[in-house]
Symmetry: C3
Subunit: 273 residues, 3 copies
């Protein structure tokens, strides 16, 4: 099932508009290229409507938001919505500051997001209006593990139903739900949290998967989440003595670059509830 | 002939002021260091005149332009012009938005660029005022191949003559002309398009080559284009099983770092028309 | 002695707020993660007070300053000061422009920095109000070598005493003083200057070391400087035929990632004067 999602992406020529943070932007661009799509970045309000018009997906990431880029997020989101493009929100650090929380929630009020992807603390924050995060990392108390996965599934499913968006919560176990079905995904490596930007990269490639699979957004999102996790596993298997997080970063993007639908299908570890 | 261009760069201590996009800026900095020069980045209007004054080249790249950085581009360009510095324009995404097209053309009206480097769609746009681009990539219909290289040479030569700038169009075949002679360059690898920023890196090192070779700007530009393409070939030859675009990015910059004038002379593949 | 500094950092969960340049920000984030802490970046004035409040250290780097980020630096510095957080200034390019010099000195007037880390030219500039730099690199005439290390120690010690900050001057020989004692550190490799951002990375990890060792800021700073230099040595020892500055960048961060207190203790090369 996931094979087709990736095959469609590789077969097409998806262009993704990213309004994203300057910390991980280069890795986001290379990850999008690695999965067969093309990125373009623009965060000037006067520029974003034109740019998003030539794309088929919009990835909004609030990781280093400022008043100019926030204005650009609203403008691009409105235009992308008019054009029926796929739109994703990555509410980086929601819960860590008032501005981030309000921006994420304000965007949700004005823009019809197809997917919201974040860690559990960020998703809890945007769902409830308050929450605790450890900066851009999830609060340990919130983490979804084998012990609370049932509750996690219920939570993510309910948020998806309430918001009308596909919700993707990533962590030790990843959950992706459209309010009805929920993918429970067990790909990935804990060492991925020692690299900056794997979440941001996932948001970028999810936007690409969505655009290539407009009729199956839940499967497309799950495919992107599995692909990122699988890339983390493949990249880890190639680590050598003395390698660390910087090399691991390269190996993960390399693994996406070399992945195809068949490999994803075979390597994806998920159940649907 | 190209050997001397690179030897001069390695022998000097060129400082390049870059007003460039935040997507590929780190790779631009490392590429400039790799070829023996030093980079400095500044895009605050109040800062750029001082910064550009201590440099000998200015690299303006509109990849993630905003109103602040546009103002900085004009201010830096004016000051660099007064000081007789080498100035390069990389009109990233010209044709993809009104703001990018107008900014590129507005800068050309006010600043005496030594070199304009872009893909064929961007160059077509700035030459004619309209054009089509696929985001930051060239429109496939425009691509210069063996089948239309004669027309491409005529086109690039005419744009160079009209604008009074050296025009460098990079793609499968690269063309560099000052309006009289035209270098037709066949270095490089198609896989370079799967990495973000090889064009931006080329613009940065071209500015460095220009500053080190003030009397031979056409040869200096051609040397930079050949060096980048050759680095793409060398980097590719070092790729191993499982490597992808992220590792390839590192290997290309590594290859520039280890290159000298002799290797460039031997590896450059060009004809002059 | 330095072992304990690193062990404390690895044992804790330090969160560092960075207002830093967009050139090297990704490497700063990965270096902070590599040493066992977590980074968060925010430079919007309306966001920084909340963000810095959840952190325990603030790293201010003026490498690509603009009026918005300068305002954020003052706001975050004031708030971090109120909360008793560790605060570090990296005055990138002070001396290269009026705005950079004035910003560095203005921040020093308003914010109680624990550590100021820069190259010798930057430190000379902020100490005396004027100086010469070669962009973001030290002026060769200023470099601290074995021939003038005694004068260098006196200079750094006197600046530390005058400012009440720990001063860390990095170069061929690194000097770290609190106005009384001075660490003279001989770790590192000259090839580190061919990579962009090793200084910025050092500032980021120094902030992390400070937060993990609040009672021993001089030792914490010296430990960070030794760790970065030692990582440069380890990274260099892993370089292979054909590797260059881009791979070296990865290997240095990798070496930090794999380093522990014991390895630092054994590899650190310093004397205390």
């Amino acid at each position: 099932m996931l094979k087709e999602q990736f095959d469609n992406l590789r077969a097409g020529s998806v262009l993704v508009h990213n309004i994203t943070n300057y910390v991980t932007v280069n890795d986001v661009a290379n990850a999008i290229l690695a999965c067969g799509a093309s990125p373009i970045m623009s965060d000037e309000p006067e520029d974003v409507e034109d740019i998003t018009s030539i794309c088929s997906a919009l990835n909004i990431n609030i990781g280093t938001l400022n008043h100019r880029s926030i204005e650009a997020m609203y403008a691009a989101g409105r235009r992308a919505g008019e054009l029926g493009h796929k739109i994703l929100l990555d509410p980086v650090g929601a819960g860590a500051s008032r501005l981030r929380t309000e921006t994420a929630r304000g965007l949700m009020n004005k823009i019809r997001f197809d997917v919201i992807r974040g860690n559990i603390s960020e998703i809890r924050t945007i769902a409830t209006g308050s929450g605790t995060t450890r900066g851009v990392d999830a609060d340990v108390a919130d983490a979804i593990t084998e012990h609370n996965v049932d509750e996690g599934v219920d939570f993510v499913r309910s948020i998806a139903a309430e918001t009308g968006c596909i919700i993707a919560v990533t962590g030790a176990i990843d959950l992706v739900s459209d309010g009805k079905r929920c993918f429970v995904i067990r790909n990935g490596r804990p060492e991925m949290s020692r690299i900056t930007g794997t979440g941001c990269q996932l948001s970028g490639i999810t936007a690409a998967f969505l655009a290539a699979n407009p009729q199956t957004p839940l499967e497309a999102t799950a495919a992107a989440v599995c692909a990122m996790g699988l890339a983390g596993e493949i990249g880890w298997s190639r680590m050598q003595e003395g390698d660390g997080n910087s090399t691991y970063r390269n190996r993960i993007i390399d693994a996406i670059c070399n992945m195809d639908g068949q490999q994803l299908e075979e390597g994806a570890k998920y159940e649907i509830r």
